[in-house]
């Protein structure tokens, strides 16, 4: 069954509006509803665990699909980030490692 699609560029416009809307809702709701609700320790812990969980849940499956060059690049980026604490250096190292790994045919 062919699924209904939205013609270019209206689909993208709709996506941008939806994403901007939910993001603003996230930004404002904590401030606005704080008077009425309290974020308990459990919810607070869940929200604190969320950023790192998102990062891992995103990169691990993508890397698993992309194969060993991805894992080499990610390891290089993490190592350089630990050593230098500079995002630019970490990204450069990661991309360089992937380029080299792919160049030698991994």
């Amino acid at each position: 069954m062919p699924e209904f699609t939205l013609a270019t560029p209206y689909g993208t416009l709709l996506a941008l509006i939806a994403m901007a809307g939910v993001t603003y809702l996230c930004r404002a709701s904590g401030v606005i509803f704080m008077n009425r609700i309290t974020i308990g320790p459990r919810l607070s812990r869940a929200l604190r665990a969320l950023p790192g969980s998102i990062v891992i849940a995103t990169i691990l499956p993508i890397a698993a699909q992309a194969g060993s060059p991805a894992f080499i690049g990610i390891s290089a980026a993490i190592a350089v980030m630990i050593a230098t604490r500079m995002e630019v250096a970490a990204i450069a190292a990661g991309l360089l490692a992937i380029s080299l790994a792919r160049f030698i045919g991994l």
Partner: protein, 235 residues
């Protein structure tokens, strides 16, 4: 009950906030360039990329959204990208709740303006400033405006660079996003115990990837990690 006094909201505060954001600008701008390059690789047009950065202004969610990008869009695709962005940005609810005492008494317009540019960096600046006794809400707005301008200014060259590279896979550019995310993990690291939910998230995401087509694994993994975080006592 008397109304609490309004927090100050001055031009001097806005300027101070902009100045306080300077050390954090380079990192944000590198992220924005990486996003611009990744957006070009995914085939977004320039106006779409700039509008994305200007209205969403939340790097991690922008990067993740690119992973599920479609054009033309199906309704399912729109739903997935919206839920995904909401999941990634749910941490802002906690940030907003934490900074709310600072905004008590502020006008609706002031709250609307400050929350529009509320990001990790100026939230941190605002929390520190308020903790030290500062009462000028303009500081959060000023830092946010500076970050927003830097964010947009850096998205553009990233996009242009990403659009002209002839063979992006050769230079690993198809993997810019996971590379950047991996680097972000380093400052997030607070020891093994707080990282237990991360391991749960990773495991759940891999299982979901094997079982469910598409990119639902991000949502499944992130929620599994959050639930694990709620259940584990990290005190």
């Amino acid at each position: 009950m008397s109304r609490p006094p309004r927090p100050a909201f001055t031009l001097a505060g806005i300027r101070l906030g902009a100045r306080l954001s300077l050390p954090l600008l380079p990192g944000a701008m590198v992220f924005a360039s990486a996003f611009g390059a990744a957006a070009a690789q995914k085939g977004l047009e320039l106006w779409q990329t700039m509008a994305f950065s200007a209205t969403v202004f939340a790097g991690a969610s922008q990067m993740v959204a690119l992973e599920v990008w479609q054009d033309p869009w199906t309704l399912t695709g729109l739903l997935i990208v919206t839920v995904l962005v909401a999941t990634v940005n749910a941490r802002m609810i906690l940030m907003g709740a934490a900074i709310q005492p600072y905004m008590v008494g502020a006008s609706r317009g002031q709250v609307a303006a400050v929350t529009f540019v509320l990001a990790d960096a100026n939230w941190l600046i605002g929390m520190r400033y308020h903790g030290e006794g500062g009462r000028d809400l303009g500081v959060v707005l000023g830092a946010g405006i500076a970050l927003w301008c830097g964010w947009l200014a850096a998205t553009l060259p990233g996009y242009l660079a990403g659009a002209v590279v002839p063979d992006p896979e050769r230079f690993g550019l198809d993997l810019v996003m996971p590379i950047f995310f991996a680097a972000m993990l380093v400052p997030m690291w607070k020891g093994f115990r707080p990282a237990i939910p991360w391991a749960v998230a990773g495991g759940a995401a891999l299982v979901a990837q094997a079982l469910i087509p598409g990119y639902a694994f991000i949502i499944v993994g992130a929620l599994a990690g959050a639930i694990a975080g709620a259940l584990i006592d990290d005190a």
